[in-house]
Structures are given as C-alpha cells and as structure tokens.
Symmetry: C2
Subunit: 250 residues, 2 copies
C-alpha cells in the first residue's frame, strides 16, 4: 500500500516531509488537511493524529506524526534513500539529532512567533501582537547567529560541515522559507546580516530542485496574496526599524 | 577514556541524562556546570557546548549536547543498555522520536514556563510573570491531558503502551518532576486531575530506583529551601484559584 502523507503545504514541516519524499523518489499519496478550514481538528484527521497537527503519515497500518520523527522514519524505512540524509554512522546521526532537537526550541519558536504575531495572524483569525513579534525576532536573530557560528562552522556547504544535505538541512531551511511571508524589508533585516545562512539556503534549494520550487509554490502564492492585501508603505505589526543595513536580497 | 557528563542537577534534562547513565550502569564522570553561577556561559564550557546549555557530554573526542540526542547516543553507543530504552525496531523507535519531538513544544514549554514565571524566576534574578505563568499553565494542562489520552493510551505502565520504560519516559518524567518546585497547592491543582499521569510517574520512579531518588535529591533540597523562603499563605506569582478538586497528593 502506498505511503499516505497528510499535509498542508502552507505549513513548513508539511513542506519538509513532502520535499523529502519527492527528492528521494518515495512513492506517496498527498492528502491535503486544509488548515484554513481547520480540518486538522476534524474527527477523521484526529484518527490519524490525535494532536490535530500536520504533517502525519500512514504507512500500511503504521501511523506517525511530528515531522522530524517522520523524516527519520522515511529515511530508515525506504531503502532507496541515500545515507547522507540520515547517516548510519553513530556520531553523524547523533549530531543530526542535536540540530533537530535544538531547532524546536530556538529557530522554530522564533520563526513561528515572528510570522504569526507580525504578519499572518489576522489571516488565521488572530490579532497581530507587536510585542510577541519583537520577542520572537530576538530569538530568531540569535538562532540565525548560532546556525552561522555553530551549525555552519567549517567549509561544508551544509549543516555540520557536510558536503551533502541531511534531513536537518531540509527541516531548518523549510522553516526559514516561511519568512517569505514577511514584508521584504523585514525579511531582509532578519536574514541580511547572515551571509552564510543565505548561502546555505541557496545550496539546499539547489540540491533539492526542481522539487524545492514546486513544493514552495503555495508559499509564494500566499506571499503574493498578502502583499496585495497590504500595499507598500502600510505598517505591519512588526517594528521594522531596519537597524541593520541590507547586504543582499534573498 | 571515561564518558564525561557536564550537568547541573538543578536542570531537568541534566537529571534525565544522569539518571539514564546510572540506571544503565554507564561509567561516567559528572562535571558540575553551576547554573546559579552562570558557568554555562564560561569560555571553558562554551568549548563543550557553544549554545551555553546543560547537559552536554564528551565521549573520547566526541562532543554532544541536547538531552534527547544524548540519550539516544548513549543508548546506541553503550552495548549494555537494554533494548527497551531505545528499541532497534523501526516502528517502536519512530514512536519514541514522536514523543520526544512533541515534548519540546508542549510539555517542556508548559513546564518551564510555569516554574520560571510562577515560582523560580526571582532565584535566578528574573521577575515573576503571572500572565506568562497562566499561559504556561494552560499549555501544561493540555499537555498533561494529551499524555493521558494519547501517549498513555492502552494498558501498559509506560508511554506508548509499553511494559518497560524508554528514554521518553525518563525525559518526560524528569520534566514533570520539576513541578515539585511549585507550591503544593499549585502542583496538586495541575497534576490532581491526571490519575494516569500520576501512576506513570510512580511507575517510572519505581523502575529507576534507587537512582531516581538520589538524582532528584537536589530538587527536593531546592524545594525545601524555597518553601522556607515563602511561608504558607504567602501568595506566589501564580493564580492558584484551585478550581479543580484534589484527587490525590503526589
């Protein structure tokens, strides 16, 4: 029976799982769980994931949720997946776990906090919260610095000094792509100072094309829609004081 | 060379790693990184973990941080560790990853938020924040419900319906033990409605004794010290409205 992936491409962990499947030629059926329609809370989906979150998978009779757990499972369960995505080597694998664990409490919290409180909230029926957005920005900025000084240390193009991407690159880059939703000036303020992060995002895009662009199409469309709703010059919920000079555009 | 564990027993993930080593007879040297003295930010410790967090390990030339990554590494690297702690079975292992990933964003955020904002803050030079404590309490309560209805579903004594504990039981129970720091009425209000959670905590204690009590001694001492500082009747930062009747004491 074909693997089923329950996801909404509006969610970054959903995109990470779909991207991983596509890049590795895993045969799967994508079943949309529409977050805008709150389908993740439907009784049908609660049978798949009682936590009411996407993504989730069903592989035969086996059900699983949490994107990192899914990525690890897929890398192990499908023999065609190349070793570099989730190396069998004990030490390399441990370091990938370390990045993935770190991601939860730092990069993801910062990224979700800023996107939700600074821009996306109203589309989901939540108010903008400039104070929460500012706190999230602080966490996100320090997380980006840590990615640069710790995880991207060395000469490799990918996390942990590797020359080939792992599931950690997929997860973290898909998270950072969510910043596309922000106004360009805000996104550039955040990513501008982090040259190495920008190069790494580009390397991950390149390594996973053409699937990367296809999987992120929904995101670019959402960005366009949001930009039309808030014309240039209109203030977002974020304190876009643009303290840091722009070095480059993403 | 002996495994080095850099930890402070005041931190719940530190206790989880130390407890795991002790229960499994792993020969290790415990090196205290005093959080009260902010030693986690010292240049010496930053050489071990540039993120400035405990626990961290050094095994020969290999350095690792993030407690879940460490627990998985230890379970794999030390042949004496019984399979039930981190089963080789692909499906069982995937479920354990799912619990551990879930823990980061739900149980841990709720638990840390309530302890820090509702009680411990001043001891660390931070103000009490009743609003943040109330938000954390909401997250913690819903996490406890999910543990009961999802992770403790079935008849097994441990998470995922198992009859033997895994690294997930160690991590989550050590997290919940931090609630000992709260005033008894607050802790009972939180845990009182969750009978199955209470039984599971007891089962995990029992399965890991006498090490469990020894490793948590620091916590009980800290609790006693805090209780002396705030005599009975004095209001903590928490809104202890005691809406829920007490079913049992922990």
């Amino acid at each position: 029976m074909k693997l089923k992936v329950f996801a909404d491409r509006k969610s970054q962990p959903s995109r990470a799982v779909i991207l991983f499947c596509k890049v590795n030629g895993i045969d799967f059926e994508e079943i949309k769980v529409d977050l805008m329609q709150k389908k993740q809370f439907s009784p049908e989906f609660k049978e798949i994931n009682p936590m009411g979150k996407v993504p989730a998978i069903v592989d035969g009779r086996f059900k699983l949720f949490e994107s990192h757990a899914i990525l690890i499972y897929l890398a192990c369960a499908f023999p065609g997946v190349a070793d570099h995505w989730y190396p069998a080597d004990l030490f390399k694998r441990a370091k990938i776990h370390s990045v993935l664990d770190w991601h939860h409490s730092y990069l993801r919290r910062g990224s979700v906090g800023i996107v939700l409180n600074g821009k996306l909230g109203p589309a989901l029926g939540l108010p903008l919260n400039p104070q929460a957005a500012a706190e999230a920005e602080k966490l996100l900025s320090s997380s980006l610095s840590k990615i640069e000084s710790v995880w991207l240390k060395g000469s490799g193009k990918f996390l942990l000094g590797s020359n080939q991407p792992s599931i950690a690159d997929i997860s973290l880059v898909c998270e950072l792509m969510q910043l596309e939703i922000l106004d360009d000036k805000d996104r550039n303020r955040l990513l501008g100072p982090h040259k190495k992060v920008q190069q790494w995002i580009e390397s991950t895009k390149k390594a996973t094309r053409p699937h990367f662009d296809e999987v992120h199409k929904t995101l670019y469309e959402a960005k366009e829609k949001l930009q039309k709703q808030s014309p240039v010059g209109e203030d977002s919920g974020m304190k876009s004081s643009l303290k840091t000079p722009l070095h480059s555009k993403m």
